[in-house]
Symmetry: C2
Subunit: 297 residues, 2 copies
Amino acid sequence: MPNEFDFIHWLRSQQRPSPLVPLPAGDDLAILRWPANDLLLAGVDQVLDGIHFDSAHHTPRQIGVKVMNRNLSDCAAMACLPAAALIAVVLPKGASIDFTKDLYLDIKSTADEFNCQIIGGDTASWPNKLALSVTILARSAGLTPITRSGAKPGDHLYVTGPLGGSILGRHMTFTPRIHLARDLASHHRITAMLDLSDGLSRDLTHICHQSHVAAHLDAPSIPIHKDAIELSRRDGLSPLHHALHDGEDHELLFTSPDLITAPSITQIGQIVPGQGIHIGTPNSFTPLKPQGWEHAL
Amino acid sequence: MPNEFDFIHWLRSQQRPSPLVPLPAGDDLAILRWPANDLLLAGVDQVLDGIHFDSAHHTPRQIGVKVMNRNLSDCAAMACLPAAALIAVVLPKGASIDFTKDLYLDIKSTADEFNCQIIGGDTASWPNKLALSVTILARSAGLTPITRSGAKPGDHLYVTGPLGGSILGRHMTFTPRIHLARDLASHHRITAMLDLSDGLSRDLTHICHQSHVAAHLDAPSIPIHKDAIELSRRDGLSPLHHALHDGEDHELLFTSPDLITAPSITQIGQIVPGQGIHIGTPNSFTPLKPQGWEHAL
């Protein structure tokens, strides 16, 4: 069985040279020459067997793609460009080298789509389940990063795609909206943005808390994914309930004073003064309690 | 039980403001203003319950200190200064909020000693064991980072402290040699350096491979830790065997054409042309096979 040293050597051999990375993985630390005009954005996100995927059902390709795309989606949420990633993998004892290579190669090919270099890896094994964490480093690349805290009363509230029912499969296969986010931030005043990972009701609460504002959701406008309708048939909850509270859509939720019309963009409400979220039609609103995916400790 | 949002809010409240970090943890990504003259060094390292520590015996304080110090020791190995860290924690189901806070606070206080900001955290739980990964971001801060690949025939080989037997306790409590590394790199021509995590024989092999050189170890010069002597009494292997092959000493191993004399520095051999490591006295050398901690997949 190859040891960690051989594996890192192999991993390094998979990377294309980049002027950003004078020294790639394989030493104690990798070295990057960070562009002088670029802010550096950084975050970490992990996926666990039995929680975020099921290794009995999902292939290494699907698992690798998901963990990388979750991090790329965080880049979309800030309208920045991914630059480099570091991967920590804990393998179950006895995992094959082919499984591990597949996992890394699929993480890498997903990162490659956005010119993101894999600059560090740590691989260990234990007699427990598979766990992966990815740290992403991203560049502002000419645009001011968009936080969650800039929403203002009067802003319109938008979403980039239909919501709900991602558990039927989309939570493994979503597309990070990086190009769309960059395009939006280049052409419009985007005041707050995030990617919908915890569910619309919970993530909108994050924007409201961090911007010190409230929101009115226009129920009939919320785009419902066909997966939400399918799930509704199975569990009896309404399609709207799934669109409001299901997690892992990874569409962008954002606010802007601009009226934005584009094929994939739907206005779903308004930012107002105050606290909390209300939902209804323009003439009749009721309070909406955040539900959805809660990362309970 | 507090949810992840509250926890990140708490974590953020523990950090001191820093000009390096205009936006700390709590948004989709943190934002850093990377110093224009600094190279960015980055790496990831993880510790697992039952492999790198034992949660039945070690306190959250010990575990948090170890995972952070492993990453700080990687900074020492490159002679750079830690700047920021991101932490991913997987908690066993039912871990208390106090345990988690202790873990983070001890990671943080260890990082604080080197003015290293915690800029990101991801916390999840599962019905398995505790796992932590830390990504470290470091600054070159006026010194050229020292890699493993610059050793030249004729260089002297040095180590910064006595070796062996760290499993008796030092593997949890070692001191990252950051100040010493910066001091060495400021005053001497250091051609290659790493921190001893896998054991002298294995780590010296890394330097030899990556520098395309060989090494002669002077057996009588190798400083033996008293823990190696204690362990030798228990298992019958020689103290020198432990000093050569035990892992997790986290002293620095480095090469230099300069004759360096300092209280904590010991010359233990010489870099020569060729391949492999030989050990003996100046007049009689035999080949040394790398052993020690192998991170087998």
